[in-house]
């Protein structure tokens, strides 16, 4: 079974949910401690939500310098699949593994509620099993989720198909930037998730793991995790015995 690592920082609080949801998505989830220097031979990595290191200074910045993040950066540079959710997205952005920064929500308040996002790409390791572009309902829970990048970077992301998710209205149309309740935090161009240039590292603010089974009110997030697990499995199979030998 495909082993997917979930990094546990001091202050992570979605790690258990993420482990549970990854198991539902068909993976064998593995906890990776923040002080670990190696990744235990996992096929992909998820950085979960929470408040790593108390979110002191800036959300994600102290986590960025933890030993496990060196290993994650090397894993990512080697083409390994990495998904950052909420605080995990903030860590990836601080580490420069995905572009941009997450600013304080435009309305200043911490927001915990359901939102709708849609995948702008259906051919990535994180979205290939979603089937079609449609609004996906899942919760957000963050104080710093306002996506920011300079205009040139935003244009580049747009041009290169690296905007992975956008906040959308009920009909699937992208939400506006300001004064639109469908864009909860005022993210520029309603960006809820982005890809790195190589397409193997992604971050998003909403929580797919909190919308991964019917009992939670939505299972729209499961497709994202299933996509990741399947992509990791295929990648591992393609690498063949070399991966086993590397363990």
């Amino acid at each position: 079974m495909t082993r997917i690592g979930v990094v546990v920082f001091p202050g992570s609080n979605c790690d258990r949910d993420t482990l549970h949801a990854l198991a539902l998505a068909g993976a064998e989830p593995v906890e990776l401690w923040h002080e670990a220097a190696t990744l235990d031979g996992v096929a992909a990595i998820v950085l979960p939500g929470g408040f790593a290191y108390g979110d002191y200074l800036r959300a994600g910045v102290i986590a960025r310098f933890s030993p496990v993040m060196r290993a994650v950066a090397a894993f990512a540079a080697d083409g390994g699949l990495v998904l950052g959710i909420c605080n995990g997205f903030q860590v990836l952005a601080e580490a420069g593994l995905v572009p941009g920064a997450l600013l304080r929500n435009r309305g200043l308040r911490f927001l915990g509620r359901d939102v709708r996002i849609a995948a702008e790409r259906l051919d990535t390791p994180f979205t290939h099993l979603l089937g079609e572009r449609r609004p996906l309902r899942m919760p957000i829970a963050h104080g710093e989720g306002c996506y920011f990048a300079d205009p040139a970077t935003l244009d580049e992301l747009q041009r290169d198909g690296r905007v992975l998710f956008r906040y959308v209205r009920t009909d699937g149309a992208p939400a506006g930037e300001t004064g639109d309740p469908d864009n909860p935090n005022g993210s520029l161009r309603a960006i809820a998730g982005v890809l790195n240039a190589a397409g193997n590292v992604a971050g998003l603010m909403p929580h797919p793991e909190r919308a991964a089974e019917g009992v939670l009110g939505s299972d729209d997030g499961l497709g994202i995790l299933r996509s990741l697990v399947e992509a990791a499995r295929l990648r591992e199979a393609a690498a063949g015995p070399a991966v086993v030998g590397a363990r």
Partner: protein, 93 residues
């Protein structure tokens, strides 16, 4: 000989970066009956002490800390300020 240097690193949002905290402060000015104040930006001041052979050596450390950890160059700029220098004579051996 070595010395200790007390620095302050002032981190502020770059011009043009949305600063909702600054806006909230600005919006409250009316409640205080204060007029004529604008462009409020809220940043962060970090004070720290560095032990080094001299001030240029200490400043290299603070520069690295300020650029890599204390600020995010995408959204913030920083200014380093020397607050106090104390030379301490180490007993000669």
């Amino acid at each position: 000989m070595s010395a200790t240097f007390r620095y302050a690193v002032n981190v502020t949002p770059k011009p043009g970066i949305l600063d909702p905290q600054g806006r909230a402060v600005e919006a409250s000015l009316g409640h205080l009956d204060i007029a004529g104040v604008s462009a409020v930006r809220v940043g962060r001041r970090v004070e720290l002490t560095v032990e080094a052979i001299d001030e240029p050596a200490a400043r290299i450390v603070v520069e690295r800390l300020a650029s890599e950890l204390l600020s995010n160059p995408l959204i913030e700029s920083y200014a380093i300020e020397l607050v106090m220098a104390t030379s301490s004579t180490v007993s000669s051996s």
